[in-house]
Structures are given as structure tokens and as C-alpha cells.
């Protein structure tokens, strides 16, 4: 992935938007003593180059009994891993997918509200994906930290 250099102003804009991204360019400009146009073009560059994304994050306490399920997936063959990971990433219920060096072939995460929801998801969706040999899982019972300042932007 190509990276663009970030200067102090870029970092300041990102920090400002990490707190509250509904602030207007004009307001950010006023806070920093810069013009709206400067902020607008900087922000466009950050978004176009996929340095940041701006999106709503919902408080997990809105879910009745949320727990994060970590699915540690083994593929039938090493050659199946990439396609399997892509297939998992295409599922809207899944928020994180990574191929792994150690522990499993693929790690996927999904937020569920109860055990039967997880069971249904595992049996009816995950097990049917071609190339899945075995799924082990651990259940997150207490969400101590999730730093929503980070994400991965994939083309």
C-alpha cells in the first residue's frame, strides 16, 4: 500500500475529527486559525488516500447482551485460505477478518447477542463456506477496550 506523508496539521485534523467528526470545516478552520478551504483540501486528501474514514460508531451497550465472538478458522487446504478470508470479509455480520501466522489460518470476529444467535451463524453461515475445515471460538464476555480510533481501509 502506498503511504502519503502526514504532517502536524494532518495529525491535528485527524485528532480533532477522532473526537467528533460532525464539526464543520469552517469550525475546524476557526479553531486552528486557518481557512475553510485549507481544511477541506487536507481532509479530502486524507479521505481520498484512505488514511482515515469517518463513520458512525454505535455504543455497544445498546445491544442487549453483546459479546464478541472470536472465530479461529482452519482451512481445508492452504490454497483455500485467501478465498475463504475474502468470503468471510464479504459477510456483513463480520467486523474483522485477518489471515494469520500462528493460532489459526483465519481470525474472524462477529458481535452477537446470545448463544443461539452464534450457533445459528456458525452452523448456517460459516460451516457452509467452502474450504472451512474447523472453527474454534472464544467468547468475549467483557469488552474492556475497543479503540475505535482505528480501522483498516481496504479497496
Amino acid at each position: 500500500m502506498t503511504r502519503i506523508p502526514l504532517d502536524d496539521l494532518d495529525q491535528k485534523i485527524i485528532d480533532r475529527l477522532s473526537r467528533d467528526a460532525r464539526v464543520s470545516n469552517r469550525e475546524i478552520g476557526r479553531e486552528f486559525g486557518l481557512t475553510e478551504g485549507t481544511i477541506r483540501s487536507r481532509l479530502k486528501r486524507l479521505l481520498d488516500n484512505k488514511v482515515i474514514r469517518v463513520a458512525a460508531v454505535t455504543n455497544a451497550n445498546r445491544l442487549k447482551n453483546p459479546f464478541l465472538a472470536y472465530l479461529w478458522i482452519e482451512a481445508d487446504t492452504a490454497g483455500d485460505i485467501q478465498a475463504l478470508a475474502e468470503r468471510l470479509a464479504s459477510l456483513p455480520e463480520i467486523t474483522f477478518v485477518s489471515t494469520m501466522l500462528g493460532r489459526a489460518d483465519v481470525l474472524a470476529m462477529t458481535l452477537v447477542e446470545n448463544g443461539s444467535q452464534l450457533t445459528d451463524f456458525l452452523h448456517q453461515t460459516i460451516d457452509k463456506i467452502p474450504g472451512v475445515r474447523r472453527v474454534r471460538y472464544s467468547l468475549g464476555q467483557n469488552f474492556i477496550k475497543h479503540d475505535f480510533r482505528y480501522c483498516v481501509l481496504v479497496n
Binding site: 485527524i14 477522532s18 474514514r53 455504543n59 485477518s98 500462528g102 472464544s138 475497543h146 480510533r149 481496504v154
Partner: protein
């Protein structure tokens, strides 16, 4: 190499000023529509958002302000992990002994480079994700910092090779 320290943006001042949302309060369909639109594009203007979901701009402004004030939703900028220079990202299982998993997890959560922490049932007591500039820094975090947290007995790290998706939509706020 120095540990990358992202600046603290989520300061106590801002978070403690928020009124906690009544847990599991039901959102109205209009709120759900606003949230769905803002998941797609957090910088959409209120006017365009109003047009998109066919309500007036004042409604959008009022609803969104309420969602944010009750801490039900936040619209924020998220940094791409790799664009921030983190090339080594690990999922680390933690086995705890002689101390509660919650307490050990709270200590882990204090480390800036630890981006998620969960108390788990299943294979290990805790799962954490650790980001570092490179393998050398990851080693230093695991070996010199995390391994020495009181109550940490064993670590089971796996390295993320290629992250295909990391799209947080829900988080403790």
C-alpha cells in the same frame, strides 16, 4: 525504537461530560436510518442526509444531537492502522493466574498499543490486539511490557498477515 504513542484524543473531560445512555433503549426507525447513513459516510451534510432519508434538515440535526448527547452514537474519524505506520498487528491470547482477568485486562487496556481487550471464555482468559511499528517493537511490547503485568501467566500471540476487514461499528463508548 520508540513506541508509537498516538495522542490521547478520548480524554476524560469529553467522555465524562456525556450523559450515559439508558442501556438497550430502543431507537426509533428514523434514528436507525440516520445511523445507517452515517456508517456509510460520516461527513455527509445534514441537508444531504435529510434528503437521503426524506425528512427535514431540522429533524436530522435534532435527532443526531440527541444520539450524540446520550452517547448512543459517535461519529468519528478512524485511522487506517497501516497508514499510521503499524505493520505488525497481533492477536494475543492471555492466560491469567493469581489475579482476576478483569484486573489484568484493565492493565492491558492502559497500554496505547493495545487496541482491543476482551475477557473471554473459551481458549484463554483474555484476548487482546496489539499494534506495533514492526516485529522488533511488537517483541518489546510482548516480552518487556505485557509479559510483566501482574497476573499474566502465558501469552499466545498470532500475527495478522493480511487484514481483509476491520470495520468497527459497535464499541464501548
Amino acid at each position: 525504537m520508540a513506541t508509537k504513542k498516538p495522542k490521547k484524543i478520548n480524554g476524560e473531560d469529553a467522555s465524562s461530560a456525556r450523559t450515559p445512555a439508558p442501556p438497550h433503549a430502543v431507537l426509533e426507525p428514523i434514528d436507525e436510518k440516520i445511523i445507517a447513513a452515517l456508517r456509510q459516510s460520516g461527513r455527509i451534510a445534514n441537508r444531504d442526509l435529510a434528503r437521503l432519508i426524506d425528512v427535514n434538515e431540522a429533524t436530522v440535526r435534532t435527532r443526531l444531537r440527541k444520539l450524540e448527547a446520550t452517547n448512543a452514537v459517535r461519529v468519528v474519524a478512524m485511522r487506517d492502522i497501516t497508514a499510521m505506520g503499524f505493520n505488525a498487528i497481533a492477536a494475543v491470547g492471555v492466560q491469567v493466574k493469581g489475579r482476576s482477568a478483569n484486573d489484568v485486562g484493565a492493565d492491558l487496556a492502559k497500554i496505547e498499543n493495545v487496541i482491543t481487550v476482551n475477557v473471554t471464555i473459551g481458549m484463554y482468559d483474555l484476548e487482546a490486539q496489539v499494534v506495533a511499528n514492526d516485529i522488533e517493537e511488537l517483541d518489546r511490547l510482548l516480552t518487556d511490557v505485557i509479559a510483566h503485568i501482574e497476573g499474566v501467566e502465558r501469552l499466545f500471540p498470532g500475527l495478522s498477515m493480511k487484514i481483509l476487514k476491520y470495520n468497527p461499528e459497535w464499541a464501548p463508548l
